[in-house]
């Protein structure tokens, strides 16, 4: 099924300067009862966003009206823990298209790429500088160019190259998904079943 294409994105950023953000924080388990992919954005970071009386926590970055953008900038080791793809759906559904961090958990990275959400891994140094810029000026814009594989801050000229497998890059640029690919090579799979040998 075609996904939205991702070519480049320039927008403001939401800085979430916390390390080891696990998937239970991104979307707590009690919100996983839905049987469709939609609407998870409402409960993104639920327990940080709302207090126990369901009042918005004023200081939390998603509740600060002056901070806007489609790029989430987070501390290292983002997305550890459970394999729930709901975490990627929630971030996308909320309106983000890019997550920037210095380190991503494996399953989260895969899930994000499978859902049109681009994980951009930068150096720790770049990340820290970006947090400082965002601290100083909430409206700092960041540009992510997938074709060129670069992330940059136009106002300061700061930029860095990021890695992505060329296959995944093609998929993102064209809005393809893995299942389409696999369905297309089904004969190869059937052939493998016949010829497979043991280890």
């Amino acid at each position: 099924m075609a996904k939205e294409k991702f070519i480049s994105e320039e927008s403001g950023c939401i800085p979430l300067n916390i390390e080891n953000v696990d998937t239970d924080q991104i979307i707590p388990a009690r919100f996983l009862k839905a049987t469709t992919r939609d609407g998870f954005g409402e409960n993104l970071f639920r327990d940080w966003r709302y207090d126990r009386k369901n009042e918005p926590v004023k200081e939390f970055v998603l509740n600060r009206p002056e901070v806007k953008g489609k790029i989430l900038v987070t501390g290292k080791n983002f997305g550890s823990g459970s394999s729930r793809e709901h975490a990627a759906w929630a971030i996308y559904d909320y309106g983000f298209r890019v997550v920037v961090s210095s380190f991503f958990a494996d399953i989260f990275k895969n899930n994000a790429l499978n859902n049109g959400l681009l994980p951009v891994q930068v150096s720790q140094d770049f990340l820290e500088k970006l947090f400082v810029l965002l601290e100083d000026d909430k409206t700092t814009r960041v540009k992510v160019d997938l074709e060129e594989q670069t992330i940059s801050v136009p106002s300061t000229g700061m930029n860095q190259h990021f890695g992505i497998s060329s296959y995944k890059k093609e998929c993102m640029l064209n809005g393809y998904d893995d299942i389409d690919y696999l369905l297309n090579i089904k004969d190869e799979v059937l052939d493998f079943e016949k010829r497979r040998s043991l280890w």
Binding site: Q25, R30, D106, N110
Partner: protein, 468 residues
């Protein structure tokens, strides 16, 4: 032939093809599904107008979202009921075997796989759940996947994954009294941190691992994901073969003998090289407990929570945030700290040996009146065996109640939630903020340490009791 690690051997033999500069297409032998991460995958199949390629390779069970009491009644939570019904409907529609509530084979997906002999050496096994790593205990390549990948496996029996790097963790020597497999793995994670294994597939080796039972090995492999690893595995041996023999899906008679001959080849070549190696001494491992909000924040139960000065400056903010959430002062001891809840269960420690350990400890003692204790068997078979062995009677005599199988307070999707601010000593695998309920404060331990807490109502060193 080039020498290979056990992981390479299994992985390579399942590669259908490789995409240049991209992932490998890996054939999957066994697929397990549950109610929470599968509905969107079935929905996807429908939109693509495609079916399930090999329904006989998938087995389903509802576990995450089910109540652990009154399972004979309809589920009272409407959304949970709908989700479980949806799984049943999807399985029926696609000819997939499902073991539902009250079925003698029902239980947590990672408990029933091994118990039914679905998990076998040399297989590739996936499930939309990160603790699929549990099945690696049998010498299989088993890992968690997202829902898009669940859909891929249903449609094509394959996933697309970059091949992980290899890591070997060797634990040599003998563990002391009061120390269990759970302590070994909590110790390893505390040394490697929660991201130390990211990008790797781990093989556990060494005499301390070899000496473990299958269930203890499952506890170790289960928590591989907690250090970020894609999975963990242990080479199969006689202990493995004996465990599998006679189980529902295990090969029978002559077939079993032939299978064992093949399984015996599943080992790492002596001269194979790993991308990374760690070695630990079993003698250095003591009963462990976590003090923070990720599984890497663990220590020996009789030591002190690190003081702020001991933490790297750039990590201090996270550390303080975590200790504030836990209500634990840096630099203090946890021994004697009052607790409110004890949870015994989950795919980490909800098997029969875990319940035996817990029961042996509390036998003849009385539950502390100040704690609520949930004892949740990992499966119906575990529940029935506990009854047959008289464990439930012993527990009842000591003032404990026994619940019905499911994930329960491990992730608190059902009603088994720890209230805000309360301390929970838990045999599960994650102590993330809110994991056991909004505001709940979780400390991960072994079943033995959980038993000591359930009796005293406080964090206690189980070894103090063994000496007496």
């Amino acid at each position: 032939m080039k020498s290979k690690t056990l992981f390479d051997r299994i992985w390579d033999s399942h590669v259908v093809s490789t995409i240049e500069n991209g992932p490998e297409i890996l054939y999957i032998d066994r697929h397990l599904i549950h109610e929470v991460t599968s509905p969107q995958a079935f929905h996807g199949l429908k939109s693509r107008k495609t079916g399930v390629l090999r329904p006989e390779r998938t087995v389903a069970t509802p576990d995450h979202n089910v109540p652990t009491a009154d399972q004979h009644l309809p589920i009272s939570d409407e959304l949970s009921r709908y989700q479980v019904a949806k799984l049943e409907k999807n399985c029926k529609e696609h000819n997939i075997t499902m073991y539902g509530l009250n079925h003698p084979f029902h239980g947590i997906v990672h408990v029933i796989g091994p118990e039914l002999g679905l998990t076998q050496p040399g297989m590739t096994i996936v499930c939309g759940d990160s603790h699929t790593s549990t099945h690696g205990a049998f010498g299989s390549v088993a890992f968690g996947i997202g829902t898009s990948e669940v859909e891929m496996v249903l449609a094509t029996q394959c996933v697309m994954q970059p091949k992980p790097k290899t890591m070997r963790i060797t634990v040599d020597g003998e563990i002391g009294a009061g120390v269990t497999a759970k302590d070994i793995i909590l110790y390893i994670i505390s040394q490697l941190t929660t991201s130390g294994g990211t990008g790797y597939f781990v093989e556990y080796a060494g005499s301390a691992i070899r000496n473990l039972s299958m269930e203890a090995r499952m506890t170790i492999c289960n928590m591989s994901i907690e250090m970020g690893a894609r999975g963990g595995l242990i080479a199969p041996d006689e202990i493995t073969f004996e465990y599998i023999m006679g189980r529902e899906y295990a090969p029978k008679g002559e077939d079993f003998k032939n299978a064992v001959e093949k399984w015996k080849k599943l080992r790492t070549d002596d001269d194979a090289e790993f991308d990374k190696e760690y070695t630990f001494k079993a003698e250095n491992i003591e009963p462990m407990i976590t003090f923070g909000t990720n599984p890497g924040m663990g220590m020996s139960i009789d030591s002190e929570v690190p003081a702020l000065e001991m933490i790297e400056p750039e990590n201090r903010d996270s550390f303080l945030k975590s200790q504030k959430y836990m209500g634990i002062e840096p630099g203090t001891s946890l021994l004697g700290k009052k607790i409110d809840y004890v949870f015994v269960g989950s795919c980490t420690n909800g098997r029969i040996e875990d319940l035996r350990m817990f029961t042996a400890f509390v036998k003849g003692k009385v539950k502390s009146a100040d704690v609520t204790v949930w004892i949740v068997p990992g499966s119906k078979q575990v529940e029935n065996q506990a009854r047959e062995e008289g464990l439930i009677d012993i527990l009842t005599e000591s003032g404990f109640q026994f619940r019905q199988p499911g994930c329960s307070a491990c992730l608190a999707m059902n009603d088994d939630k720890v209230p805000e601010g309360k301390y929970s000593v838990s045999t599960s695998n994650r102590n993330f903020e809110g994991r056991q309920g909004p505001g709940a404060r979780t400390m991960l331990v072994s079943p033995v340490t959980a038993a000591a807490a359930a009796i005293t109502g406080k964090i206690s060193d189980p070894r103090d009791f063994l000496a007496k």
